[in-house]
Structure formats: structure tokens, C-alpha cells
């Protein structure tokens, strides 16, 4: 069983929901990425989504754009991110790590090389925002060949036909984008999520994580009740942005602990 499967199986048995924090590798400083990953685990993260910096993050709002810019000031590229995961794995063998970003850095490395490196360093899944199922078949075949789960996005506008198509290719879990907009937008529509999840379940056997618009304990709890996992990105990146290099690890740990407590009430 893969690390991602194991985590979701365990949670299911304990009737708990997954907490999946996201932050961008290299933000605010490459030396802090691995300590931040460990802090997330300690605070109760079940899966870590680690952002790969990209110069043109089209699907992201200003908060995550700035995170990419800060990381790129340190020239953090995909191969650095893979090295960071390797370092994290030296003292953590259990927590799944999903790389999240845009396709071009992987295109530049080559999908075969990327998939092999992921397997070597202990990456569990990859989510490329701008590779829908229409364009990802060949690329993602390399991932599954090396045991890396391709994680897919679904959106409020995804039709039944599209959900079905994603269901065929997706592994690990599915990431439902809960609102129309970029990351970090504010308007969460719980009723709409509640309505959409059954439509997704008709086609998808994998766990469903929901992200976009989750800002605090209250919204985390509300969303956790509706699905299998809660993804929190911009709020964590904002905490990183508002902290100093001295207190960032502690501050992010504290925030994630609060989210954990909220999610566990679901």
C-alpha cells in the first residue's frame, strides 16, 4: 500500500478527516523548508503539499504568487525541491509528500527523469495545475510507472463526463477546488460543496480533499464535515509571510495545530 493510501485508510478507521497543508518550497528561505515540513507533521498534518516555485503561477492569487517570487529569489528550482524531500525523508518515512505546481519545470526536467527522481527521494504524488486529463496521459504514465500518484483537480464547473474522465486517471486522492477563482480567494460556498460532493462520489472511489477558501478553524471544520480531507494553502503562506525567520516555524506549527483540532471535531 502506498503512503497516501495508508494515511487515508488509517484516518477512515479512526473516523478522522485528513489535514493537508500547503506551502511553497524555498519560502521564505530554502533552509527553512525541511524544518517547516517537520513542524507541519508535528502539528498534525496528514499529507504535505509542497509547492514547486514557478515564474508564472497563473492559477494562484497574490499570496501564493509572492511565495513563488520569494522562493525564486533564492533560485529554488525543481531539483532543489526534490533534494529537500530527500532530506525530509531522512527523519520521516511515513508522511506522504505531494509536489504541487505547474507543468513547465517538469517539462524542462523531462517527465521520465522527474518520475524516477520522485521515487528515489520519496515523493508520493504530483499535482500539475495546468495539465488536465486531456494533455496529461503520456506524462502521467511515467508517474504511475514509478509508483507516483497523479493527483487531479476537479472544479464546480466539472461536468459528469469530466469527473468520469478524471476518475480513470487519478490516484491517491482527488483535490476538489471549492470555488471559482484563484487560490486565496475569500468566498466559500458550503452549500455548493455539499451539493457537489455526491456528484463526485458517483464516479470517484478515491478520497476527496477540498481546498481553496479555507481560512480558519471554523471553515476548516465546516469543510471537513463534507469530505475526506481539508487542504489549506494561502492561509499558511500568509502566516509565513507575516512571520520572521526566527518565529516562522513556531507560528506555522501553532496555526496548523488549531486547524488540526478543528478538523478532528468533524
Amino acid at each position: 500500500m502506498s503512503r497516501i493510501q495508508t494515511v487515508f485508510e488509517n484516518l477512515k478507521q479512526r473516523k478522522r478527516k485528513a489535514l493537508i497543508p500547503f506551502f511553497t518550497a524555498g519560502d521564505p528561505d530554502p533552509a527553512l523548508t525541511v524544518p517547516l515540513m517537520h513542524a507541519l507533521v508535528e502539528a498534525g498534518a496528514d499529507v504535505i503539499e509542497l509547492g514547486v516555485p514557478f515564474s508564472d503561477p497563473m492559477a494562484d492569487g497574490p499570496t501564493i504568487q509572492r511565495a513563488s517570487e520569494r522562493a525564486l529569489k533564492h533560485h529554488v528550482g525543481l531539483h532543489h525541491v526534490l533534494d529537500m524531500v530527500a532530506e525530509f525523508r531522512r527523519s520521516n518515512a511515513a508522511t506522504p509528500v505531494v509536489l504541487m505546481g505547474y507543468g513547465n519545470p517538469i517539462e524542462a526536467m523531462g517527465w521520465e527523469t522527474f518520475a524516477r527522481r520522485c521515487a528515489e527521494v520519496g515523493v508520493d504524488g504530483a499535482l500539475t495545475v495546468d495539465f488536465p486529463p486531456e494533455e496529461s496521459h503520456e506524462a502521467f504514465a511515467h508517474l504511475t510507472e514509478h509508483g507516483i500518484d497523479p493527483i487531479f483537480l476537479l472544479a464546480p464547473t466539472s461536468t459528469d463526463a469530466r469527473v468520469e474522465r478524471v476518475a480513470k486517471q487519478a490516484r491517491g486522492y482527488v483535490y476538489y477546488v471549492s470555488l471559482k477563482g484563484v487560490t486565496g480567494a475569500g468566498h466559500l460556498d458550503l452549500a455548493a460543496i455539499e451539493q457537489k460532493i455526491p456528484q463526485l462520489r458517483k464516479h470517484i472511489d478515491l478520497p476527496i480533499g477540498v481546498g481553496f477558501g479555507i481560512r480558519d478553524a471554523e471553515t476548516a471544520l465546516a469543510v471537513a464535515k463534507l469530505c475526506d480531507g481539508v487542504v489549506v494553502g494561502s492561509r499558511i503562506v500568509q502566516e509565513i509571510e507575516n512571520s520572521t525567520e526566527q518565529n516562522v516555524v513556531a507560528n506555522v506549527g501553532k496555526l496548523v495545530k488549531e486547524l488540526r483540532q478543528a478538523v478532528d471535531k468533524a
Binding site: 508564472d56 497563473m58 494562484d60 497574490p62 495539465f131 488536465p132 464547473t157 477546488v177 477563482g181 484563484v182
Partner: protein, 398 residues
């Protein structure tokens, strides 16, 4: 018969639909609407009416006799897209997309712009059809193209300066995409070039193909035959696809795309992904040649002309390059500027700095060709918008 793209928007290995799931619904909707209306007689009639009476089509072809005589080689003809309403070829496409938006019930249009020509063309049609209009423009371009910013505002558009990334065209495109995904229900994104996710590269080409449709009729009338080569500047590549399209199946006609050589190819400071064989990558919804570093990060480009200052290129140009049907060369800032002044001097026409690149290549090769040879240059826009840039380079304050 040339028949690209395939139904999924691929030009060979290029093009496609590389966008987040959140945009797929909107692109499906657009695809269906375009397929429905592109052959619809009422839609075509309405489009043609506005192209004739509002834009002033057909645009003439002009024989640049004095310039040709001066060069002493091939005869240079100019397709006068600069004479269109709003002063460039861009309006051919914005009218088409705005009419489509109206049929789709979208009341708000957004656009990205580099030089401001596409922004002006979008603001113009938005005013014409009574739509709300928001134009995203890199903060650096807002500075260097201030006359066009004012024109857009006069036409009732909101111009949003984009301060992220390199503050140029690519960043304006990112921001427009973000707006679109947020306001998908009431908003139509009018992309200004033959890039972006399918169906944009095909649709923008189709709307601009009127340029070569006219030229294949006009050239025999004026020059007695088709040209030996058609030359156009290439940033994203919409004017070039427009003037190339109906010549693709005429093997006797060379197609030459001219990219921005900036400070010179050797300097690395340019916007010429095809000429320099940049690696293939994915940006703004399509796969194409892309200026990027070893990590796959998009690098900053440079050109004297804002409209060519783009790290990628339309996927159809990538395919025309690989298939050998078109060739791509670069003209640097200085050469373009000299061509700009040459056309002012010899023909009394102030060309856009973008179009000056195409012109500069014609000026370069004409003397190496016989007097019986014919070059057709797409004069894609007029240069009024560039007078501040040109004056500044000459040390003159207007």
C-alpha cells in the same frame, strides 16, 4: 490541404489545452460556441458588415516604389493593416470575438495587452457593442505606451497595471487568466494573439486570416502575381498567421516570420524563441517554443517594441517552423529603428515598431534579390503610439 489544428487544438506536438480544471468548463463552452457560429451565415454577415463599415476593410496593398528603388532589388509591397480603424490588425480579431461574446450572452470582456494595440482594439469594440471592458497591461508597458493607455480610458475601459513578474505582456496574460477564472459566468476573455489554450490560437488566426484572403486577390491585381515571400513580425504571431494563412498551400510563396532580436541574439536580451531554438515548454495554455532557464522558469525578454516582448510564440508558428513551411529570423532594436525611419522618409508612412521588424528584414534581403522579385510585408500597425519611444531614444522630450 493544410488542415491544422486537430480537433483538440494540436498543431503537431504544439498547442493543446494546458489549463487548470477551473477553466475547462469555460473553454468547452467557448469551443462549442465557436464551432456553432464560425460557419453561421448570420454571424459571418454581421462580422463582414462591421469589417467593411467600421474597420474600413479591405485594407489596401501599397507599392513602396521609392523604398524599392532606393534598395535597388526586390519590389516591396505593404499590406496596409495600419489603415484599419484603431490602427492595427488587432481589430479584425476583437470584432470577431466580441460578436461571439455577445451571442454567448457575456456582458463583460477582458483582455491583456502589450503595446496597447490589442487593448485599444478591445476597448473599441466593447464600446461599440455596449460591453464592460477591463484591460490588463504590464506596469512597464503602461509607462512606455502611455498614449494607448489614455485611448483605452477614453473608450471607457478600465486599465489595470500589472506589477507581478516582469511587468510586461506575459504577466498581463497571467492576470487576465486569473480574472477570467474568477468571473467565468459573465466574462469573455478576448485573447489578442494566436496563443493561449485551444480554441484561441485557431480562432484568432481565423479572424485575422482576412488579411491574406484579401492579399491573394489584391497582389495579382496590383503586382501581376503573388509575392515571392510574405514577411511579418512575430511576437505571439497573430498578424503573421493572418497574412500567412491563405498562402500556406502556395508552395511558391516563402513565409518569413521576424522575431524581436532586442539587443542582439548574442546578448541573450531578446524575444526570439523560434530563431534561437528555445526549448519547448508549456505556458499560457499551450505547448510551444519558450524562452526559459534550465529550471523551466520563464525568463525576461527584451524588445524595443512592447508588442513583440513575449517569451513564447503561437503554437502554429512552432509547427510551421518544424515542418519547414515558414522560416523565422530575428531583427534587432537598431535595425527595426532604422526601418522605422526609412519608411517615414521614403514613403511618408510612420510604421509601428513591431511592423518595423518585418520591414527591416525586407530592407535587408531586397537588395540581394532581382528587381523582378516581389516581397509582401504586413504593415501590421501604425507608429503613432511609438513616437514617445522613438523621441526618447533620440534624446528628445515631447
Amino acid at each position: 490541404m493544410y488542415d491544422y489544428p486537430d480537433k483538440n487544438g494540436h498543431f503537431g506536438p504544439y498547442g493543446g489545452i494546458y489549463v487548470a480544471e477551473t477553466l475547462m468548463g469555460a473553454l468547452d463552452e467557448l469551443n462549442q460556441a465557436y464551432e456553432k457560429y464560425r460557419h453561421d451565415p448570420d454571424f459571418i454577415a454581421e462580422l463582414n458588415y462591421d469589417l467593411k463599415h467600421y474597420v474600413g476593410r479591405p485594407s489596401p496593398i501599397y507599392y513602396a516604389r521609392h523604398l524599392s528603388d532606393h534598395l535597388g532589388g526586390a519590389q516591396i509591397y505593404l499590406k496596409r493593416e495600419d489603415l484599419n480603424h484603431t490602427g492595427a490588425h488587432k481589430v479584425n480579431n476583437t470584432i470577431g470575438q466580441a460578436l461571439l461574446a455577445r451571442r454567448m450572452g457575456k456582458k463583460r470582456v477582458i483582455a491583456e495587452t502589450g503595446a496597447g494595440q490589442h487593448g485599444v482594439a478591445t476597448a473599441t469594440v466593447a464600446a461599440r457593442y455596449g460591453m464592460e471592458c477591463v484591460v490588463y497591461m504590464g506596469a512597464e508597458d503602461v509607462q512606455r505606451q502611455s498614449p494607448n493607455v489614455f485611448r483605452m480610458k477614453l473608450l471607457g475601459a478600465t486599465v489595470v497595471p500589472v506589477n507581478s513578474g516582469s511587468k510586461t505582456l506575459k504577466d498581463a496574460l497571467n492576470e487576465a487568466m486569473r480574472d477570467w477564472v474568477t468571473n467565468i459566468e459573465n466574462t469573455f476573455y478576448i485573447i489578442g494573439t494566436v496563443a493561449g489554450p485551444h480554441p484561441y490560437p485557431m480562432m484568432v488566426r481565423d479572424f485575422n486570416a482576412i488579411v491574406s484572403k484579401e492579399a491573394v486577390v489584391q497582389m495579382p491585381e496590383l503586382a501581376g502575381r503573388q509575392p515571392d515571400a510574405v514577411i511579418a513580425c512575430v511576437g505571439g504571431g497573430s498578424n503573421a498567421m493572418g497574412v500567412f494563412y491563405h498562402y500556406i498551400d502556395m508552395p511558391g510563396v516563402k513565409l518569413i516570420g521576424v522575431e524581436a532580436g532586442g539587443h542582439g541574439i548574442a546578448s541573450g536580451s531578446h524575444a526570439a524563441p523560434l530563431t534561437t531554438n528555445s526549448p519547448v515548454g508549456v505556458l499560457h495554455g499551450n505547448k510551444t517554443y519558450l524562452m526559459q532557464d534550465a529550471d523551466g522558469q520563464i525568463i525576461e525578454t527584451h524588445s524595443i517594441s512592447a508588442g513583440l516582448d513575449y517569451p513564447g510564440v503561437g503554437p502554429e508558428h512552432a509547427w510551421l517552423k518544424d515542418s519547414g513551411r515558414a522560416e523565422y529570423v530575428a531583427i534587432d532594436d537598431d535595425e527595426a529603428l532604422r526601418a522605422f525611419h526609412d519608411l517615414c522618409h521614403f514613403e511618408g508612412i510612420i510604421p509601428a515598431l513591431e511592423s518595423s521588424h518585418a520591414l527591416a528584414h525586407a530592407i535587408k534581403i531586397a537588395p540581394t534579390m532581382g528587381k523582378d522579385k516581389v516581397l509582401l510585408v504586413n504593415l501590421s500597425g501604425r507608429g503613432d503610439k511609438d513616437i514617445n519611444t522613438v523621441a526618447k531614444l533620440a534624446g528628445i522630450t515631447l
